[in-house]
């Protein structure tokens, strides 16, 4: 690896906004960790390390942060305790409407305790907090820039990360260049990074093959085998943090009946999707906790076997004579449609009569929030902590509780896990919740996706499970 070089990254879609406090779509993470940097960092195997700040856990509800000396934002203003507090306040201010407020859990107060130190205190213990600080809510923006730029901040963010924004041509390229004032000496190696949105996976791959880009996100699973055999390219696969699943609307027929939901779990064989849709990348999923959450993941957890006849029998026993019709809502992407088609085909062998409804991404969110579906794809890109994968989904009024699932026991377990500090204890609580969720079957878990990326063979970087790019240490060889 050598210093210097220009990297072009082919990504799936342009970020919507560069303001981390308002990022809502998955595609923003491509740029976020390059422009901004979280207070704490996380390794690819999810170990939390000090970054711009170090932290001391005073007690389960009190955290003392110490910022490095001499941190500056790209605009030269200092990143000190005041600036950090300002960031927290912005995220927490209901008038601002930032979705980060929810990430931060029960924060009670942020106090500046010195020029470079501040304390975050909670009303109750919040175990995932440190992992949250390695993620979206840990990203600090320049208060001066936000105040001066107003609405324009979203397009020309000013952070303290290794790269700063040079120009952004919407839908064409986001040009970043090395930030000279970056705290981590010798980093980054690259001179410039250009993010180029190329929505079509085939075209994106063509760009990599023709050398217009040196790194691409989301290679199509079906091409992985062939690409691995190609010496000029390197394929990177890392288990993702999220899950690929469908919500079953438990508030209305037919999925208000747990028997029907359980029958559906027996009717569908995620192994087929694993092979046909994902070409043996990633892994089959039975619950919300992916293998990458090593300490919480239970590899033997497999509550439902594939048993179409059994499913049929269950339904017959429960008095369903005719095939049960329902609609599978899914967004328009070849792989997801393929998955929906598989579910449709398998379910119709087991006493169901599903149809597929394709919608666009924006509609999906509306559909999910309005519970205007029978069964809907509800993706989750995942967080480094199981809390991030479960709390919002399965607590009683969790914002992502799309199925309308209500189970006091699960709710209790998830809340308890939040305030529990001991990891083993937490793992037990999550597995207990996972088992109960499986029994109630408000969701159909299909797959734990891998993060699939490819690069030119001469480009070396450390792949992140969440698919984001954190390019400290990344560079070209030779």
């Amino acid at each position: 690896q050598q210093a210097g070089g220009d990297l072009s990254i082919g990504v799936v879609s342009d970020p919507v906004t560069l303001d981390p406090h308002f990022m809502g779509s998955f595609f923003e993470i491509y740029a976020q960790y390059l422009i901004h940097e979280p207070l704490l960092t996380i390794t690819p195997d999810l170990e939390i390390r000090p970054g711009m700040a170090s932290v001391e856990i005073v007690d389960p509800t009190t955290y003392d942060f110490t910022l490095r000396d001499g941190l500056t934002f790209h605009d030269g203003t200092p990143l000190d305790a005041e600036a950090a507090k300002w960031n927290f306040d912005r995220m927490l201010d209901p008038a601002v409407g930032s979705p980060r407020g929810n990430d931060l859990g029960p924060v009670e107060a942020v106090e500046v305790t010195g020029p470079l130190t501040f304390r975050v205190s909670f009303s109750e213990p919040f175990a995932p907090f440190l992992s949250v600080m390695t993620n979206r809510a840990g990203l600090m923006v320049s208060p001066t820039a936000v105040q001066e730029m107003g609405d324009d901040f979203a397009t020309s963010a000013v952070g303290a990360g290794p790269f700063k924004v040079v120009s952004w041509t919407k839908n064409s390229e986001l040009k970043l260049e090395k930030f000279d004032g970056y705290w981590n000496d010798g980093q980054p190696l690259l001179d410039t990074v250009t993010l180029r949105p190329i929505p079509d996976e085939t075209v994106r791959l063509a760009n990599l093959q023709s050398g217009t880009i040196q790194l691409m996100d989301s290679i199509p699973a079906q091409n992985v085998a062939a690409l691995r055999a190609n010496d000029a390219l390197t394929v990177h696969e890392a288990g993702g943090l999220g899950f690929n699943a469908f919500s079953l609307n438990v508030t209305q027929a037919p999925f208000d009946d747990p028997v029907v939901r359980r029958a559906l779990q027996h009717a569908v064989d995620p192994d087929v999707a694993q092979r046909v849709v994902f070409f043996d990348t990633g892994s089959v999923s039975s619950g919300p906790i992916p293998p990458s959450h090593g300490w919480a993941h239970d590899p033997d957890f497999d509550p439902y076997d594939y048993d179409p006849e059994g499913a049929k029998a269950m339904l017959a026993e429960a008095g369903y004579a005719d095939p049960i019709p329902f609609e599978i809502t899914v967004i328009n992407s070849p792989a997801l449609i393929r998955m929906a088609e598989i579910i449709q085909a398998q379910a119709s062998q087991a006493g169901f009569a599903p149809t597929i409804k394709q919608i666009d991404g924006a509609s999906l969110i509306v559909v999910l929030r309005a519970k205007d579906f029978d069964m809907s794809w509800s993706p989750w890109s995942g967080r480094p902590d199981p809390d991030g994968n479960m709390f919002n989904y399965f607590t009683l009024d969790g914002p992502n509780n799309f199925p309308g699932y209500e189970n006091a026991e699960v709710d209790g377990a998830l809340r308890a896990a939040r305030v529990t500090v001991d990891q083993a204890e937490r793992a037990a609580l999550y597995q207990q919740a996972q088992a109960q969720i499986a029994a109630d079957a408000p969701m159909l878990f299909m797959h734990f996706d891998s993060t699939l990326q490819a690069s030119s063979a001469n480009f070396v970087f450390e792949q992140q499970p969440d698919g984001s790019f954190r390019l400290n240490g990344a560079g070209f060889t030779e």
Binding site: T17, G24, G101, A154, S172
Partner: protein
């Protein structure tokens, strides 16, 4: 002059109609820019806050007239998603589209006009058959497909042109042209097909006119008859078609721009629709429609120049 004023005035109700239609369609689309923007994690309060901030909690009619009032003052508003002024976004996106559309039309004319003329002059000959076949093949290839094929052929198999991307003209003219080639061919192909067929039928019609016989009877060479006499008049329906095509191109660039990651109006509009970014959708559609109407007016004027009878 009076005619021009009349025509310009006639544009106003059309644009008004278009803005109403756009507003109506956008309102009918389920979804909401705020939800689309902040995604799955948004809380209801956050959504309400942001809705109020962008005036989306107002009745539709109020929103429309507020928007219209601003438009009349030259303010198209700001994107809800990115907060950028719509006018600036359109300004950025228009050049790539104009370049792409221009190049596509140029390529299509380069192919279509000679092919159409030849095919008409050698009617039912091998040339006619061959050219028509190729033209129809052009019509029947969906551009998303053609685009991908061109990329695989000319960037991967024979790496001559970049697979996609946009290089601004003034930054790197050579690079610009290189990135322009494949998308322009993709878009130009279907245009060429239509133009070629129109040229052919217009030429066929003109060639059967009495004044062509007069031209022959004067002893002119075939080249003179075909270019000076026949093509000159056959050009008129072709120009009209071009006007309509240019308008359609503005809408039709969507696919090409998506495939080639070309940062133009089409991609902007589609993204805005999918993001429910109302101000952007409205601005983009209004821009496209205005361009369409103006281009059609321009072709009518060109028509008047080409056809002295029209200026009566």
């Amino acid at each position: 002059m009076r005619y021009l004023t009349f025509r310009l005035l006639a544009i106003v109700p059309i644009l008004f109609g278009i803005s109403v239609l756009t507003f109506a369609v956008v309102q009918m689309v389920p979804g909401d820019p705020i939800v689309a923007m902040i995604g799955l994690e948004a809380t209801d309060e956050a959504i309400a806050t942001l809705r109020a901030r962008y005036g989306l909690d107002q009745p539709v009619v109020v929103q429309y007239f507020a928007w219209l009032g601003n438009v009349l003052q030259g303010d198209l508003g700001r994107s809800i998603q990115t907060g950028r002024p719509v006018l600036a976004m359109l300004g950025d996106a228009i050049w790539p589209t104009v370049q792409l559309a221009g190049a596509a039309i140029f390529i299509s004319l380069l192919i279509a006009i000679p092919a159409g003329i030849l095919s008409a002059v050698r009617r039912n000959g091998a040339w006619d058959f061959g050219a028509s076949f190729v033209a129809l093949a052009g019509l029947s290839v969906p551009s998303f497909w053609l685009g991908v094929m061109l990329i695989l052929a000319f960037s991967v198999t024979w790496p001559i042109f970049p697979a996609s991307g946009y290089v601004p003209l003034f930054e790197d003219p050579a690079g610009h042209l290189r990135t322009l080639v494949l998308p322009a061919i993709t878009l130009g192909t279907s245009l060429a097909a239509a133009t070629m067929r129109m040229t052919r039928s217009a030429m066929l019609e003109v060639l059967s006119q009495d004044y062509i016989r007069t031209a022959w009877a004067k002893g002119l060479s075939p080249a003179a008859v075909i270019t000076h006499h026949a093509f000159r008049t056959a050009l008129m329906p072709v120009v009209t078609l071009l006007g309509i095509q240019m308008g359609q191109v503005l809408g039709g660039v969507v696919i090409t721009e998506t495939v080639f990651s070309w940062p133009g109006i089409g991609k902007l509009t589609v993204d805005a629709i999918f993001a429910r970014d109302y101000p952007v959708v409205q601005g983009a559609v209004l821009l496209t429609a205005t361009a369409f109407v103006l281009i059609n007016l321009a072709t009518d004027l060109v028509y008047a120049v080409l056809d002295p009878r029209a200026t009566g």
